[in-house]
Amino acid sequence: MTLFGQPIPILTLITFIPLLGAGIIALTPRDSIRLHRGLAFFFSLIPLALSAWLWLNFDPNRPGFQFVERAVWFPQVNASYYLGVDGLSVMLIFLTTLLTPLGVLISFNITEDPRTYFALFLALETGILGVFVSLDLLLFFLFWELGLVPMYFLINNWGAPERRHYAALKFILYTMAGSLGLLLGIQLIWAALGGTQGGTFDLLEISRRWPALQGTLVGVPMEVVKAIVFWAFVVAFAIKVPVWPFHTWLPDAHTEAPTAGSMILAGILLKLGAYGFLRVVFPLFPAESARFAFALALLATAAIVFGAYAALGQRDFKRLVAYSSVNHMGFVVLGIAVAGYALGNPTIRDHALIAVNGAALQLFAHGLSSAAMFALVGVVYDRTHTRDLEAYGGLWTRMPVYGGILIYCAMASVGLPGLAGFVAEYMVVQGSWPVFTALTAIAMLGLLITGAFIMKAIQKVLHGPLNPRWARLPEMSAREILAVAPLMAFMLLTGLWPAWIVPTLNAALVRLFG
């Protein structure tokens, strides 16, 4: 697409329009709440429209990155403003731009300083989108950090009153600890590639030169440097996913965050970690990835099993849903581990391709289902001001529509065939069974318990006689239904006809294996 003979910088527009919106909202008067809501919704819809256009115009059959934009940014260290997308990032961009307006919609009931809230929310979107479009490691890191700050304030200022400060601090410290290593690793790569003489942050160039790099860096053998960078990256991304046992920030942050914050956290922020593995770690460290893939698969299995058990053990509705993310992201990591293993073992590439496609699809599926689940938890929390499962009971009587929607989304979460989660989980299991047979079999225990905790949640919230405390509970409003309905539609679409999205992912992921 061109305008006045110039190509329109579509990626830049998608990325920065939310930030522009944030700025404009910040300039409006403090009291005009309706204006804030309207502006936030409007500015989150534009990127959605643009990313839908991006999806439609993206050609999965063309190799390499598309819609590339490149400009000089920081010539002294050879960093550039370098953007581009492949199938994987297109999917994630779409997911991000889809969830943001829905998050804005669900946040319409925010009354405490909505101006700042919406501005931060939109700034958050820019940070996340930036990570998905960056092809320059320094830019990648910049956006990576940019996303943290608004999230911190969203949890800290608008979270649930009891433990929000603890949760916000835990979230930011934990993630910052990871990104410290990320920054170190990026700098080491730059220095090892020649620093000011030939050093680069260009991801594509790095993935060409780095894996074969020999020699020393200030006397340290390159093997050691690579090992340091590898582990720095792995830890950073593992915290974000989160890989077991780095997961304990997640239940706290997800539980205490405001509803829309939880939606974005679970729906997208966790995906950054998996994206980092696929986009950065694997192309740069094929040998190391293959060597440690089994360990990663082991941790993934632990996440699946222990995540499910921990979810089953919760009394707090939101915490239960939060732990389900640990469980579901475990499948993502399992699929990624299979792909990592295949980098060193070409014979299993067919299986690995299925597994990693499953992992990528699980990113999408979990993005939909977890966001929907958090939205639904928010709906009852807004009405009852409690998250204690024992305090609900029989809400279905008062809220039949809500009950139906909750069961639908819970079933998507549990991986009911016909909805998105099943296809993804099946593909991961399918791909990892021939490679990590025993681990996959153990992971089935997690899948079993997944059913148990979802059943527990549905039963405690909806079933049984109506608790007289909630005798006047209002039904889900049209606005709340509207915030969940698109997610439900995409769950069904993906579950029934995954071919609408899988080829796009597949085209990107097949290039992992050269």
Binding site: L173, A311, L312, D350, L353, I354, T397, L448
Partner: protein
């Protein structure tokens, strides 16, 4: 693979859609209009029924339907070496299922209109029923395991939702969760089996795997590294685990009796007569895989597992069924028992017999469930008519057979159809469908045990024979307690025949329960065989397999034995319960068995055992071990430890900062400040003082430059 035409496959592909669309329409739009909802639902099933009939009647006229099934497929998951394809497949086995499923379902839908009338969630019931129907049809027409699994799981969800339909009742939602979780144990193993099979063969298509001798041979010869089994054997056992869950076989049988807590005989019937048979259907469908493993590594292990689980379940459930008082629970146990029969048949290689019993069982069990529903409906209404239901008297259980009695006169149609179904269940010789299919299974077992002298068929034969006696006994017990004698409660005395929408399906199904068996009369059976034109069912369904199975030569001995067994059980039941019907308040004669009765009544204490061995440890593990100890204590403890250490280090550094760094910095500042404070006194603000200083200064200079040189002499 050659297929038959293009129009028929498309028709087949259409079959699951109408109920699915009906589900969507009812859920989204017509929730409030009851009449419209059931019209849409019934119409959708009727469309599917018509389509299925067209396909069925075309299919049975086709030559070589086994080799050239009605099939079509499209890529569904385009990833990996070749895209996973979805499609439909109707081979002889599929065709007979396609005949049975929509027919029985249509009856259920019609019946539900009468039974569910007045329920506040009427539309939801029909929506779920439609979704269930769509899933079941999907499962039947599926041409691959994954698609079958999708139908399988969606049905599982629907059964969960229907069991827990009256969600306010704790027993109902507990039963729903139990059903979901128990079947899920099998389902996850089944998913592994699917993954295993795909990883080995690169396809999940039934026709590609099961009718391809090379694939089967390769699967049978590849070791699986588990218990010395071949891949074929292990994969079929994993898939069989799914069946064990879905068809409620030991050790996963516990959910089905509880599922009767579900609101209606209609939904109970859904789980019992339709969905659970899907499990058996899958095992029958995958029979070639099981068979392939027979000659490969690990030998007959897989057969042994399937046959013994089936036969043992048949026996165990029959014993439990004897001691139940809930009319639906008796049927539930009989269902478990009969499904065990079918699996035992598969396990001894009696493929066609299993399929045959699956078919006849579906008809007569549907009939029995609907009949019991009619009874419960009547007793419930009778209870209201008798003037109860308004006061605060003790709770009345309309399902308890000891609250009935003498209903034969009050509701004759229900009675006679129920008798037809019950006799079919017990295998009453010659005039019921159940006799022919059961006889075929027993005949096969007899043949293997006494003519070939093998151990497994002998075990199966003994267990099944014992189960058959018990079946006859509890069937007669049920009929006698419900319909014979005098009414034992006012409710039973006021019961009235159900409305015609409920009666019509009963009569219709009774027809099949009696005559359905004549499609499979053994070749050479005196008299009847010539009348029914030989064993059509065997010829037709046998064509599904690569090698057409041999029909057994007619042998009068097992026929006589199985007739005697059935009659013995029925007569025993007659002697105990019907000869002198129980009066009101009289205890069950079985109580005299003492501990055995308690053991049976409490279902061999298996539920309690599971509660102790699985449920509580799982909850303990979840709440205490993982959620609390591992995450809160270990991991968060470690994190908090690190945080505290960093905090302490920070405090130490802060102290250093305050004392040393701040000390120096502040010291300089303080010193300057103090000096300023002292010097401040000089600034009086009085201009005269300043001037004085100026003058003094000037004088000083004068002294310095003029007077001092003079005095000091330079």
């Amino acid at each position: 693979m050659e297929t038959q035409g293009t129009l028929l496959p498309l028709l087949v592909a259409l079959i699951p859609w109408p109920p699915f669309i009906a589900f969507g329409l009812i859920t989204l739009f017509t929730n409030r209009w009851k009449r419209l909802s059931h019209t849409i639902a019934i119409l959708s099933v009727a469309i599917s029924f018509v389509l299925s009939q067209i396909v069925f009647w075309n299919a049975i006229r086709m030559e070589h339907l086994g080799e050239q099934p009605i099939a079509i497929r499209i890529p569904w998951l385009p990833v990996g070496p070749r895209p996973l394809e979805f499609g439909v497949l109707v081979d002889p086995l599929g065709a007979v299922m396609l005949f049975m499923v929509p027919l029985v379902s249509l009856m259920i839908f019609i019946y539900s209109v009468g039974y569910m009338a007045g329920d506040p969630h009427y539309s939801r019931f029909f929506a779920l029923l439609s979704l269930f129907e769509a899933a079941m049809l999907l499962l039947v027409v599926a041409d691959n395991l994954l698609m079958l699994f999708i139908g399988w799981e969606v049905m599982g969800f629907c059964s969960y939702a229907l069991i827990g339909f009256w969600y306010r009742k704790p027993s109902a939602y507990r039963a729903a969760v139990k059903a979901f979780m128990t079947t899920r144990v099998g389902d996850v193993l089944m998913l592994l089996g699917i993954a295993y099979l795909y990883a080995q063969t690169g396809t999940l298509n039934f026709h590609d795997i099961l009718r391809n001798p090379e694939t089967l041979k390769a699967l049978a010869e590849t070791p699986s590294y588990v218990a010395g089994l071949s891949v074929a054997a292990l994969a079929s056992l994993l898939l069989f685990a799914g069946t064990v869950g879905k068809s409620a076989q030991f050790p996963l049988h516990v959910w089905l009796p509880d599922a009767m807590e579900g609101p209606t005989p209609v939904s109970a019937m859904i789980h019992a007569a339709t969905m659970v048979s899907a499990g058996v259907y899958t095992t029958i469908r995958m029979f070639p895989l099981l068979q392939a493993g027979q000659h490969g590594l690990g030998g007959e292990t897989a057969f042994w597992v399937v046959a013994l689980i089936g036969a043992f379940t048949a026996f165990m459930a029959a014993t439990m069924g004897v001691a139940q008082n809930d009319i639906k629970r008796v049927l539930a146990y009989s269902t478990i028992s009969q499904l065990g029969y079918m699996l035992a048949a598969v396990g001894i290689g009696a493929y066609v017999a299993a399929a045959f019993h699956l078919l006849t069982h579906a008809f007569f069990k549907a009939l029995l469930f609907l009949g019991s529903g009619s009874v419960i409906h009547a007793v419930e209404h009778g209870h209201h008519h008798a003037g109860h239901g308004h006061g605060h008297e003790e709770p009345f259980d309309p399902n308890d057979m000891f609250n009935m009695g003498g209903l034969a006169r009050r509701m004759p149609v229900t009675f006679w159809t129920f008798v037809a179904g019950g006799l079919a269940l017990a295998g009453f010789p010659l005039i019921t469908a159940g006799f022919w299919s059961k006889d075929e299974i027993l005949g096969e077992a007899f043949h293997g045990a006494f003519e070939k002298g093998e151990l497994l068929p002998l075990l199966v034969f003994l267990l099944l024979a014992a189960a058959a006696i018990l079946t006859g006994f509890y069937t007669m017990r049920q009929i006698a307690l419900t319909f014979l004698g005098e009414p034992r409660t006012a409710a039973a005395a006021h019961a009235e025949e159900s409305p015609s929408s409920m009666i019509f399906p009963l009569v219709f199904l009774a027809f099949f329960a009696i005559f359905g068996g004549y499609v499979g009369v053994p070749e050479g059976f005196p008299g009847l065989s010539a009348l029914t034109g030989g064993n059509w069912f065997h010829e037709f369904v046998g064509g599904t397999l690569l090698e057409h199975p041999e029909a057994l030569p007619f042998n009068p001995v097992p026929v006589v034995i199985s007739s005697l067994i059935a009659l013995t059980g029925l007569l025993l039941g007659w002697a105990v319960y019907a000869r002198r019907p129980l009066a009101a308040g009289e205890p069950d004669p079985l109580v005299r068995l003492g501990p055995i009765y308690l053991f049976l009544k409490n279902r061999w204490y298996i539920d309690d055992l599971y509660q102790v061995v699985f449920v509580r440890p799982t909850l303990w593990l979840a709440e205490r071990a993982v959620a609390f100890f591992m995450d809160r204590v270990l991991i968060d403890g470690f994190l908090h430890g690190v945080a505290d250490a960093v905090w302490s280090m920070g405090s130490a550094l802060r102290l250093f900062d305050r004392v040393v760094v701040n000390g120096i910095g502040d010291g300089i500042g303080e010193a300057v400040k103090a000096a300023g404070r002292e010097l401040r006194a000089l600034q009086t603000g009085l201009v005269q003082n300043y001037l004085l200083v100026v003058v003094l200064g000037v004088l000083g200079f004068i002294v310095l430059y003029t007077v001092a040189p003079m005095l000091l002499g330079f």
